[in-house]
């Protein structure tokens, strides 16, 4: 009972905080200081934080899959869904089901195989923390923002500006669809069956399950006290207690302590189990079912990827811009598009936290293998010269933490100027909006006709922030844009040649 309550409290805290940092468009919580994202299993692995991974594995070896019940937000989301389901279906109960071993390990092998082959997208889709992040970013965050705008509307009307309106826009259709499917599929499974996702598709669940089979503390049914009432099995959201056989499949158990709490006979106990080695086994052979499922999963993912590819081709046909970016603009700290694709699992914490709202999930900019990973988009803003937020919150090390000086010396892309699109050239009127926004004066204005000035580029000092592209008023195609650097380069420091001291002691008129 105590252990269950501890789990509940810790789980609720994790779920609340992790949910909030993904919806927190106003930056109320300092997400970079909250380590909850950084101790997630896959992010820590990709960050090469072996000590974190080591601690998580050790915890599992000692106490079972408590990670799945306390730290994993996707697991907690499923528990919450189950709780809500119980309100609507009072007589709802769980039943034992055998382990789908082929599906579990098959999926894990597929995830690892595709990842090694350079396709991180399958890992991104199934990795529970990132899948949770996307669900919140794409489904809950817009609702939160709409709510904020309604509240702001009322407050502002009465002259209170504690709340302010915020712009809501579609971050990325593909990620929204993936997030929605994730929500519907995992939500449905959790509503009806419990932790099915964790014990079939989740790669972290499979790895930790392999360890928890042998953990020091495990759940065990004591035959002498058990009257086979089945209460434990009916309350087991992992469907891993076979009350008839009086066995617990500890590889699928997520240590929720529901069984020990409901058992009236104290027949099922969480106890030290290294005295005699008896790894519990569960699951009979259901190979045909498992392989069929695996086939369908693969088919589904292939179809999704293929259809999106066709869609992308269609998209390119309708855009009639005279210029198109050849390489995507990977975010600061990503070092290169390749480094990003290898390390990112598309949790979208950077997308949710970017104060300038310029990070959006990629579609096919990095190829199918890097789908949903963050890419810079200057249609709603530009990268603030003095901001390093995304590099601070990234739990995966996909965006390496940058100091301000490092950020200033990073060239994410290079400015390109199309003179024939520029209003100074076409209309012969003043503009200079690009230069106005340029933090380094990589774009400066030089004499043109009469008093007119026209943009002039010094690409060596360009950081690729996109201020010029965002603000360029030329329509329909902009006159200035940033071409992405596939590998980030070093931006030279601008030469500060304004040292002359001017002294004035009269008004000049």
């Amino acid at each position: 009972m105590i252990l269950k309550n501890i789990r509940l409290v810790l789980g609720i805290i994790t779920l609340l905080i992790l949910t909030f940092i993904f919806i927190d468009f106003a930056g109320l919580l300092p997400a970079e200081k909250i380590p909850l994202a950084k101790i997630q299993f896959v992010p820590a692995l990709l960050m090469n934080s072996f000590w974190i991974v080591g601690v998580l594995l050790l915890l599992t070896l000692l106490f079972g899959r408590i990670y799945c019940s306390i730290l994993c937000p996707m697991g907690l989301f499923q528990d919450l869904t189950g709780r809500v389901a119980r309100i609507f279906r009072k007589k709802r109960k769980y039943t034992f089901s055998p382990e789908r071993r082929w599906l579990r390990y098959g999926t894990l092998v597929a995830v690892l195989g595709t990842y090694v082959a350079g396709w991180s997208v399958l890992l991104s889709v199934l990795e529970p923390y990132s899948a949770f992040g996307r669900m919140v970013t794409h489904l809950l965050r817009p609702i939160y923002m709409v709510g904020n705008n309604l509240v702001a509307g009322v407050f502002n009307h009465f002259g209170n500006y504690t709340f302010y309106h915020t712009e809501i826009f579609l971050l990325g259709a593909s990620s929204l669809i993936v997030a929605l499917l994730t929500f519907l599929i995992i939500g449905y499974l959790a509503w009806i069956y419990g932790r099915t996702f964790c014990n079939t598709l989740c790669p972290v669940g499979t790895v930790l399950g392999f360890v928890s089979r042998f953990s020091m503390f495990r759940f065990k049914v004591h035959e002498e006290s058990c009257n086979q009432c089945g209460l434990c099995a009916r309350n087991c959201k992992s469907s891993c207690i076979d009350s008839k056989a009086e066995t617990v499949d500890n590889s699928r158990c997520v240590s929720c302590f529901n069984c020990t709490t409901v058992c009236t006979k104290k027949a099922i106990r969480y106890e030290f189990s290294w005295k005699k080695s008896s790894p519990s086994t569960g699951g009979s052979e259901e190979e045909s079912v498992a392989s069929r499922r695996r086939f369908l999963t693969t088919l589904g993912i292939t179809m999704l990827a293929a259809s999106s590819q066709t869609w992308a081709k269609g998209m390119h046909l309708v855009t009639n811009k005279p210029w198109a970016r050849k390489s995507p603009l990977s975010p600061p700290g990503s070092l290169s598009a390749e480094h990003l694709t290898i390390h990112c699992t598309a949790c979208h914490l950077c997308v949710a936290q970017c104060p300038s709202k310029i990070l959006k999930p990629s579609f096919l900019e990095y190829g199918v293998e890097g789908m949903m990973q963050p890419v810079m988009d200057f249609s709603h803003g530009f990268c603030n010269y003095d901001c390093t937020k995304c590099t601070e919150v990234c739990p995966n090390g996909a965006l390496k933490k940058l100091t301000m000086d490092e950020k200033h010396a990073t060239q994410m892309g290079i400015v390109q100027f199309i003179k024939t699109n520029c209003v100074v050239y076409t209309d012969e009127t003043f503009c200079g909006a690009c230069s106005e926004h340029c933090p380094t004066q990589a774009v400066s204005m030089v004499p043109y006709k009469g008093d007119l000035t026209i943009p002039f580029l010094n690409t060596a000092i360009c950081v690729g922030c996109g201020g010029c592209e965002y603000v360029c008023p030329a329509k329909p195609a902009k006159a200035i844009y940033v071409e992405g650097n596939p590998v980030h380069l070093k931006a030279q420091k601008f030469v500060d040649n304004n040292k002359k001291e001017v002294k004035v002691d009269s008004f000049g008129f």
Binding site: A26, G27, N149, G153, V154, N156, H157, F158, G159, Y161, Y164, H165, T166, E167, P355, S356, G381, N384, Y385, D386, C387, V423, D427, T429, F430, C431, G432, A433, S435, E436, H437, C438, P439, T440, Q441, S444, M445, D451, T453, V471, P473, A474, K475, F494, D496, N498, K499, V502, V504, D505, S506, F507, G508, F509
Partner: protein
């Protein structure tokens, strides 16, 4: 709050938002502004050599005190330049001490509230914070208003406008009784200078339209709005002489310790441009929007016609 109360409040708010400012109300506001103009003896004050707050106190006293512009019970809007995520030393934004002093004086004159806002270019939350203006203005008793979303703007007509006939203007300007324009003096790579007139681009939503449709003319056009600022206070304490309006290093900025105040927008920008000409070459005629505003009869570039008071501290 009970659900019923909340719904009532929300319904009231909805009802209230359906009321719009009428032309008549606008004209009334304009009249008060005009009367304020006539009463003074001095037309333009130039001050030099002091700290921002002190220079403002001297200058406003010379014009007859803030009470001439702000009446008891009026809602006041103070519009500084908070364009950039830059600290005060960089000279990219209006001096926070100056903004705070103006806010304090308005409240002392009996203003019912003072609202401060700007449509920033950089992320507005960072610009408001790092410019020092949010904190300084709040401490002085002002209310800070966001300007990041189109919902904060309403359409107005600009009958005198040549290129710009309508614009979405921030509600703080439209809903106040009087507003005070507090620009900072900077060079501007696009418009050549940014002073009182260019600072009006921070009261509109769609700046892209300006840049697409003859920037200099649009700047003059927006200044012809029916409710002009009662006073333009040009902060030339730190003057950005190069790489403006954003600036990239402290060396872009000269510590000039000056200030120009007038109700005549053309005159005050003329004076400030001439002052700037001592720091960097800037022929007055090249700053086209000033002459274009004179064509719209918004003021005079001929400073000899005005009663100018120069104060050296």
């Amino acid at each position: 709050m009970k659900r019923r109360d909340f719904l009532k409040t929300a319904a009231l708010a909805g009802l209230a938002t359906t009321f719009k400012l009428t032309e008549g109300m606008d004209l009334m506001a304009q009249k008060t502004a005009k009367t304020a103009l006539k009463a003074g003896g001095t037309d333009l004050v130039a001050v030099m050599g002091g700290e921002p707050a002190l220079m403002f106190r001297k200058a406003i006293a010379e014009l007859g005190g803030i009470g001439k512009y702000v009446k008891k019970g009026q809602k006041v809007c103070v519009k500084p330049n908070i364009g950039w995520d830059k600290t005060p030393e960089m000279g990219s934004n209006t001096n926070p001490e100056l903004v705070a002093e103006i806010v304090r004086q308005c409240l002392q004159a009996g203003a019912s509230e003072v609202v401060v806002f700007d449509h920033s270019c950089d992320d507005w939350r960072k610009a408001y914070k790092n410019s020092g203006i949010e904190d300084a203005a709040k401490a002085a008793g002002a209310k800070i208003m966001p300007a990041n979303e189109v919902t904060y703007y309403r359409d107005i007509a600009l009958p005198k406008g040549v290129k710009l006939k309508t614009a979405k203007v921030h509600q703080a300007i439209l809903d106040c009784d009087v507003w005070i324009n507090v620009p900072v003096l900077k060079n501007h790579e696009g418009a050549l200078m940014t002073i009182s007139m260019k600072n009006h681009m921070g009261i509109v939503w769609d700046r892209g339209f300006f840049h697409r449709n003859d920037l200099q003319q649009c700047i003059a056009d927006i200044c012809s709005l029916q409710k002009p600022a009662v006073l333009h206070v040009v902060d030339a304490y730190r003057v950005m002489k190069t790489n403006g309006p954003r600036g990239r290093a402290v060396s872009d900025v000269a510590l000039a310790k000056a200030m120009f105040i007038s109700a005549d927008i053309v005159a005050v920008d003329t004076a400030a441009t001439k002052f700037f000409g001592q720091l960097e070459t800037m022929p007055l005629e090249s700053v086209k929007h000033i002459a274009l505003a004179q064509d719209l009869k918004l003021g005079t570039m001929d400073l000899s016609k005005l009663k100018v008071k120069k104060i050296q501290l």
